[in-house]
């Protein structure tokens, strides 16, 4: 299918910022896959002028580095597919897009799909009991400076017997889990050996937890026998704690 792709250019690279890029590569791809490139100079042109330029050039997709949300939304509303935070050379970005390897960034906020809602008190109660059942000493995080940490769980490493502290946030305080996860990352510092975010699995929660090295604990997950107290496996947690990797070795299946 014929299409036109615009990429702001800085030397050979995808320009870091849409609004100040001096050149745009306009690549027209015909139905046979043949690519024709043209470079358009854009200096002195403000953000909206750039939007107009892309509309005038009948661009179908924009691959760029940083772009202000307002321009991204405006382009999207005009039917232009915006792939931002792209890095690398113009050629590799275009190739990747044409191979369908460049994906649009997922919306970070969606008021309509926040996953299943669990009352906070239910989640705290359930989490407390789960960790207690598995041999942890659990107490409420009384210090307000620790918000959004709800619980602190303590246990001795089953391998080296050193005490381990885990900060647990039951993710139902705020309507945006990404904000809550980032806040958990900010407050639960080196005093804790692990940070756990209790929340049903959603793409956003998974991605944010991965970004901030926080363990996502889905209350719908099943807990296996090898995690029971008495084994050499640290219960519940799945992400190895640095220095305690042996406590995360998989136990032989019975």
């Amino acid at each position: 299918m014929a299409m036109t792709v615009a990429i702001p250019r800085f030397n050979d690279l995808v320009a870091p910022r849409f609004e100040v890029a001096r050149y745009f590569v306009i690549a027209r791809i015909d139905a046979a896959g043949k690519i024709e490139r043209e470079t358009v100079q854009c200096s002195g042109c403000v953000g909206l002028g750039r939007v107009q330029l892309l509309i005038d050039q009948r661009v179908d997709a924009l691959i760029c580095g940083g772009i202000r949300r307002v321009y991204r939304d405006l382009l999207s509303s005009r039917g232009i597919d915006v792939i931002d935070h792209a890095v690398g050379t113009v050629d590799t970005a275009l190739d990747a897009y044409l191979r369908n390897d460049l994906q649009k960034e997922e919306e970070s906020v969606s008021c309509l799909d926040q996953g299943p809602r669990i009352p906070l008190e239910d989640l705290i109660c359930w989490t407390k009991e789960l960790f207690t059942e598995h041999g942890y000493a659990v107490h409420d995080a009384a210090d307000r400076a620790l918000f959004p940490v709800d619980l602190v769980a303590e246990i001795k490493c089953p391998v080296c017997n050193k005490p381990l502290r885990i900060a647990i946030c039951c993710g139902a305080h705020a309507y945006r889990c990404d904000q809550e996860i980032q806040q958990l990352h900010q407050v639960a510092g080196p005093d804790f050996h692990a940070r756990v975010y209790v929340h049903p699995t959603t793409a956003q929660a998974q991605r944010c937890c991965l970004d901030y090295d926080i363990e996502l604990l889905d209350p719908n997950r099943r807990f296996t026998a090898c995690e029971r107290p008495g084994s050499h496996r640290l219960p519940i947690l799945q992400n190895a704690i640095p220095g305690h990797e042996r406590a995360f070795a998989r136990a032989p299946e019975r």
């Binding site: 939304d73 890095v87 900010q186």
Partner: protein, 449 residues
């Protein structure tokens, strides 16, 4: 500080505890460290930033031309407190001030550079509020209806035609008017606001057109009016629907001939202005009712923007809530993270008769009474709590607690029986999460004997 491992930990603790963003790069501008404040300001975790080139993370307006880190690496000279704008992970423009310095080893060899940066969003936000210096980029909306308006905004701004902005109070009419001025070729000249609703009829002419000495008692010397001040720029006439018929004719003449006569003057004065008018009333209805001149209506209805009420673009509520939380955090030096899911549900259902302004006031009220990090239902103004449409949960709560408990217990028992004791399926059938079902089972002692 005994050994290098301890030193490393020691410096990491210091870096993670300071409020300024700090990162280091090697000689190729590849990020080698990224502290907690840098994560917070950019919204990008250290795990993603380290190993990337700095311009792939910051997207600053100086990355292409005039990169200060590059300059520091090349010359060895430091730079201090330079204003820069970056784009964070959510596409928001963040004003920061940056300082750079070169990093050398014990032998004086350049290892890379360090940049510290301070978030100036609060100062910039307060400056915007103070000078009312809002631009098109400050309009917050995900609504397709607003985006359609965005799409015609540049052409509308460039045309120099009279613009009519219609929309209910608090829907952002002035923001659009400012955006039109700021996007037009007149942006370097004055933008003058005339509130037609508050100007007494007797003062209308003298305020707008000025007067000559001796025009009336106390007019001791010439005074220019608002129209003269706007020469070369834009005049924004707000609440034009409130303008009395007697003064409408004077405005009509100004629009038709682009000239006016100051009070007491015998000769007309030409003026070069662009007129933007706004109203929360339906001018067509006013024309039909004989309260607004039809010739004036047709003169101003050239390029029209109809702004929707907030209840017609509810998808914007979460974004506006985030915006007002940030704004109030800046104003009140608080650290509120968000609203609770319950509050968001209430706000998403609220009618917002006062539109965006009402939402702003609600969040401001919540900031006064909320001393924690999340705005809960109890922090909402009483009338919002009372008028909140009942959710499924609250309907349940209003029922007599004893009969509700018996009802719930039997519903759970039936669901469990129907699904042969499978709690996941029973929870799904009941429309609740497994965790909630688990707690209800405990509460009612089901399956514990």
């Amino acid at each position: 500080m005994g050994n290098s491992l301890d030193d490393d930990r020691f410096f990491k603790v210091i870096l993670s505890s300071i409020a300024d963003g700090v990162f280091t790069v090697d000689s190729q501008r590849i990020i080698t460290s990224f502290n907690s404040a840098a994560e917070k300001i950019t919204g990008i975790p250290a795990s993603q930033a380290i190993g990337k080139r700095c311009y792939e993370v910051f997207h600053a307006d100086i990355c292409e031309q005039g990169c200060l880190l590059e300059k520091t690496l090349q010359t060895g000279k430091e730079s201090i407190d330079q204003p820069v704008s970056i784009v964070n992970s959510e596409g928001e423009s963040i004003p920061i001030s940056i300082s750079t310095s070169v990093l050398r080893d014990a032998d004086g060899q350049v290892l890379g550079a360090v940049e510290t940066f301070r978030d100036l969003s609060t100062i910039e936000q307060l400056r915007k509020e103070l000078f009312k210096n809002y631009s098109f980029e400050d309009i917050i909306s995900k609504s397709p209806r607003i985006h359609k308006l965005f799409a015609i905004l540049p052409d509308g701004a460039a045309s120099d035609s009279t613009v009519l902005i219609q929309g209910p109070s608090g829907s952002g009419k002035e923001l659009f008017a400012r955006a039109i001025h700021n996007l037009s070729s007149r942006r370097t000249n004055n933008y003058v606001v005339i509130n037609c609703g508050t100007l007494p009829v007797q003062l209308f002419e003298s305020e707008l057109f000025g007067y000559k000495a001796g025009a009336f008692t106390d007019a001791k010397k010439d005074k220019s009016g608002k129209i003269a001040r706007a020469d070369g720029g834009t005049v924004f006439c707000d609440e034009i629907g409130e303008l009395p018929l007697s003064t409408q004719v004077k405005l009509l003449r100004l629009l038709q001939q682009r000239e006016y006569e100051p009070l007491g003057s015998t000769s007309p004065v030409s003026v070069d202005i662009r007129v933007v008018v706004a109203t929360n009333r339906n001018l067509k209805d006013l024309v039909a009712a004989g309260k607004f001149r039809d010739d004036l209506y047709f003169r101003i209805d050239v390029v029209r923007f109809d702004l929707p009420a907030l209840k017609e673009r509810r998808e914007d509520v979460p974004y506006l809530v985030d915006h007002f939380i940030k704004l109030n955090n800046a104003r009140r030096a608080k650290n509120i993270v968000s609203v609770s899911p319950e509050v968001m549900d209430i706000l998403m259902r609220h009618e917002f008769a006062g539109n965006v302004r009402e939402l702003e006031n609600i969040i401001e009220y919540c900031f006064v009474v909320c001393h924690g990090n999340v705005i809960g239902r109890e922090h909402l103004p009483a009338e919002i709590q009372e008028t909140a449409l009942p959710s499924d949960d609250s309907t349940e709560r209003r029922i007599d607690p004893l009969s509700a408990a018996i009802d719930e217990r039997s519903r759970i028992e039936v669901a469990l029986k129907e699904h042969q004791g499978n709690k996941t399926r029973a929870a799904r059938a009941l429309g609740i999460d497994r965790t909630t079902l688990w707690r209800r089972l405990k509460r009612y002692g089901i399956g514990q004997s």
